[in-house]
């Protein structure tokens, strides 16, 4: 009952936003094309939000995912282009290089592997150096972004043939959406039906208790950050595919949208609480919100302000619900 109630607020907010836009801009908003676009566009962020849900449930945070997305996209493109027979100078010069399908497949897998390694790096720093996730990922955010710019001196890598993860369809469903569905279902399963998910909750709820209960806390934390990295790698490939290139500036302040989606979906920033359903609702809420505001010709700058307030509102509402209106000093 309680779990259901926690989901009620984000869900009704989502319904409210959808009905609001339906009233305000019925023709453009409700078109199949628009809705399909919004969902497809939200896929990459949604995939990352799945990973972020684990991390926030353990009581952590990953600020590096925006930069990680740029770096893994860049690295994966190098792999594809090299396998396609490009020389380093040709690649850096942005010359057209024909990539065979197998090169693109390997490149995609490589992107996920690079992402996983980035996450592993975060996880190991957090657990071995015993540093706060906030500090470690603040540092790696800068590192990954720096590497992205250094790789080709601030210029992108062109991969114009790599379009399948953007426009491709399988059984009539856009591929990004399909990947999002798979990531969501997989993450949901991991979270609810495996020890990994259960231990993530326990660590976020009380890390000392988790240790006393025989949980290998470090292993779970490293696992969560690595999983986040893997999903970021996948999202990076979707972004690269959409832009037909790997941009070193991709995903700037993307972590904000992802974290916001997870928090709005009911994850407690203090850890121990949250669901994948909530994260799905949070992701959709932000996407539809942005879409409607864009259709109403509200500038992206103003959108930032609106989303900021919504985050504060969501967390306040969550706190009030948890405390049952009890007031607490400090």
């Amino acid at each position: 009952m309680n779990k259901f109630a926690r989901q009620l607020l984000p869900f009704s907010s989502l319904l409210f936003i959808i009905s609001l836009w339906t009233c305000l801009v019925p023709d453009t908003f409700l078109s199949f094309q628009n809705i399909s676009n919004v969902l497809t566009r939200s896929a990459a962020n949604g995939i990352m939000a799945c990973g972020m849900t684990f991390i926030i449930i353990t009581g952590g945070i990953d600020l590096s995912i925006g930069s990680m997305l740029a770096m893994t996209g860049m690295l994966a493109s190098i792999v594809m282009l090299m396998l396609g027979g490009g020389t380093w100078t040709a690649i850096c010069g942005g010359e057209f290089i024909a990539m065979p399908l197998w090169a693109m497949v390997i490149g995609t897998v490589a992107g996920m592997v690079f992402g996983g390694l980035c996450g592993l790096f975060n996880g190991i720093c957090i657990t071995r150096l015993k540093l706060a996730p906030f500090i470690v990922t603040l540092g790696s955010m800068s590192i990954f972004r720096g590497v992205s710019y250094v790789l080709n001196d601030g210029k992108p890598f062109a991969i114009s043939a790599y379009t399948y993860l953007d426009t491709g369809k399988l059984l009539g469903i856009p591929v990004p959406l399909l990947l999002f569905a798979i990531a969501l279902a997989g993450s949901g399963f991991l979270l609810k039906y495996t020890k990994f998910g259960r231990y993530a909750y326990a660590i976020g709820s009380n890390i000392t208790t988790a240790f006393h209960a025989g949980i290998n806390v470090n292993k779970i934390l490293v696992g969560a950050y690595t999983f986040m990295g893997l999903l970021t790698g996948l999202a990076a490939m979707i972004y690269s595919s959409r832009a037909s290139s790997a941009q070193p500036s991709a995903g700037l302040s993307l972590e904000m949208d992802v974290i916001a989606a997870v928090i709005i979906g009911g994850c407690s920033p203090a850890g121990g609480k949250g669901t994948m359903t909530g994260t799905l609702i949070g992701t959709l809420l932000i996407s539809f919100l942005r879409n409607g505001l864009t259709l109403l010709n509200v500038s992206t700058n103003l959108q930032l302000i609106v989303i900021g307030f919504i985050i504060i509102f969501a967390v306040t509402a969550d706190r009030l619900a948890v405390q049952g209106g009890k007031k607490e000093n400090i």
Binding site: K195, Y201, T209, H212, A213, G214, I215, K273
Partner: protein
């Protein structure tokens, strides 16, 4: 009357249904050191907290120098002249001695009210220091000082606030012998200057050395009071313990079998040294001693929570290598910790999750969790220990303390461990739940498990255990058969 600095009359205090203090009378004369003795949980700290304004009494009155005294908060108590020196020091680590002493009442320069007059504060502090000849400087940072020096800063702070009554709670627990001797000189000096000092300590020899008068609290009542001339260590201990062991503890019918679990020469080079003992099947072994004697540290070392540097742990004769709680659980050891909120439960998570947390492998859910089966099994374990919950899916913090403790018992029952450590298993829970827990301990012993029960309550040790080990300052000082010993004996081994 005129000589009474503090006069407490008929003080009573209850927390919920538990009467912690009952009709307490206490007089403190100026220029004396008055020791208050009592077992853990006798009500000493509650009494001191009422004095310090942490919470009010339910009944009774206090008079400070003849005037009614009822502090609404700690700040008021400090203004009235009550200074508390706790075991844990309460100073700002990164500030200097002078800054700490003036914290909250800083001097400001005459013209600019927001500008602090650091020179004046440092100078005044230095004068205070030299008045007592403390080995300190006013601009030293607290973090760089030794514990003894930091304690002196606390005392200076109290004096600077014009303390009339100085309350010292176990002040020597963190001091070396020479440092303690230094402290005693200071205390003697304060006494000569007319300060009244309440001195709380478990160390009998200190009390015999320092105190002018002794009062003994037992089960919330002030049972005895005498000038030091009429006291011996024996009489004090007798009054601390002196109670009939009521037939509150259920009988047990366990057959004591072979040695199940043993530790030899367990050391962590810090809190415990050279601890060796054995526990047999069906045996309940008690571990007594004062708070801070190293009992929990022994449990932590066995369970892999802390690293033990040396020593051997064996289960049924086989050596165990335990580096983490996970290793201990795999070796079929269970540990019900003393602090269920901090180390026992994930309070925000469902009761069922809390029960299965260390047991998922054990109940066949190493790969995939079956939520239905999990709920069923937790419900079964919960009912076995009579947890009262609306539903096992409710968060653990919706339960009362006693039920939370039962939840943890259910957890370790599910683990089917062979050797179980219970650290203060009945702390802060009501009488009914206590009895349930004792029954369960018996059930476990009868099933051939080995139990180690850490408890600060002597009646509990005597009521529950076949054998009592006593610790003092990190070492085992006694290994007593319960039927051949007395509470006085245990207390003696724990204190002297």
């Amino acid at each position: 009357m005129s000589n009474d600095r503090l006069d407490i009359q008929g003080l009573g205090k209850a927390f919920g249904t538990v009467q912690v203090l009952r009709d307490v009378n206490f007089r403190l004369r100026a220029g004396t050191v008055h020791a208050i003795c009592g077992e853990n949980g006798a009500g000493k700290s509650t009494l001191m907290k009422i004095l310090a304004g942490n919470f009010p009494a339910d009944s009774g009155q206090m008079f400070l120098e003849g005037r009614p005294y009822a502090p609404a908060n700690p700040a008021e108590a400090i203004r009235a002249g009550i200074a508390m020196i706790y075991q844990e020091l309460d100073l700002a680590e990164h500030l200097t001695v002078a800054e700490n002493i003036f914290l909250g009442q800083e001097r400001t320069a005459s013209r600019w009210k927001f500008r602090l007059d650091n020179n004046a504060m440092t100078q005044e502090t230095q004068e205070l220091i030299s008045r007592f000849g403390f080995p300190l400087t006013a601009d030293a940072v607290i973090g760089d000082l030794s514990v003894a020096q930091a304690q002196m800063v606390e005392i200076l702070k109290a004096l600077h606030q014009n303390a009339k009554i100085l309350v010292m709670d176990e002040p020597t627990s963190a001091l070396s012998q020479t440092e303690a001797a230094q402290l005693f000189t200071i205390i003697h000096r304060f006494r000569e200057e007319g300060l009244a000092i309440i001195y709380i300590s478990h160390r009998m020899e200190e009390i015999m050395d320092l105190a002018d008068e002794v009062s003994v609290l037992r089960d919330g009542e002030m049972v005895w009071h005498a000038p030091i001339g009429d006291c011996t260590v024996e009489t004090i201990i007798r009054h601390m313990v002196g109670r009939e062991l009521v037939d509150f503890y259920p009988k047990r019918n366990a057959k004591i079998g072979d040695v199940l679990f043993a530790v030899e020469n367990l050391c962590d080079h810090e809190k415990i040294a050279d601890v060796s003992f054995q526990v047999r099947r069906g045996e309940v072994v008690g571990l007594g001693g004062l708070v801070g004697a190293g009992r929990t540290e022994v449990a932590n070392a066995i369970f892999g929570v802390s690293k033990h540097i040396s020593g051997r742990i064996t289960m049924q004769g086989k050596d165990l290598k335990i580096h983490s709680p996970a290793d201990a659980i795999r070796a079929r050891i269970a540990y019900l910790t003393e602090d269920r909120k901090r180390t026992g439960l994930c309070t925000a998570l469902p009761c069922s999750w809390n029960i299965t947390l260390p047991n998922l492998d054990h109940i066949g859910m190493a790969r995939i969790l079956s939520l239905k089966k999990e709920l069923e099994q937790s419900r079964k374990e919960g009912e076995r220990v009579h947890v009262r919950w609306a539903s096992p899916e409710d968060a653990a913090d919706t339960l009362s303390g006693g039920n939370q403790q039962k939840l943890l018992l259910a957890r370790w029952l599910m683990a089917e461990s062979d050797f179980l450590i219970f650290d203060e298993p009945t702390r802060g829970i009501d009488v009914g739940a206590k009895k349930d827990i004792y029954l369960l301990l018996n059930e476990l012993a009868e099933a051939g498990k080995g139990l180690l029960v850490i408890s600060s309550e002597l009646p509990e040790l005597f009521g529950v255990c076949d054998r009592i080990l006593v610790m003092r300052e990190g070492r085992l000082t006694a290994n007593l058969q319960t039927k051949d010993t007395t509470p006085e004996d245990v207390m003696r081994h724990a204190t002297i």
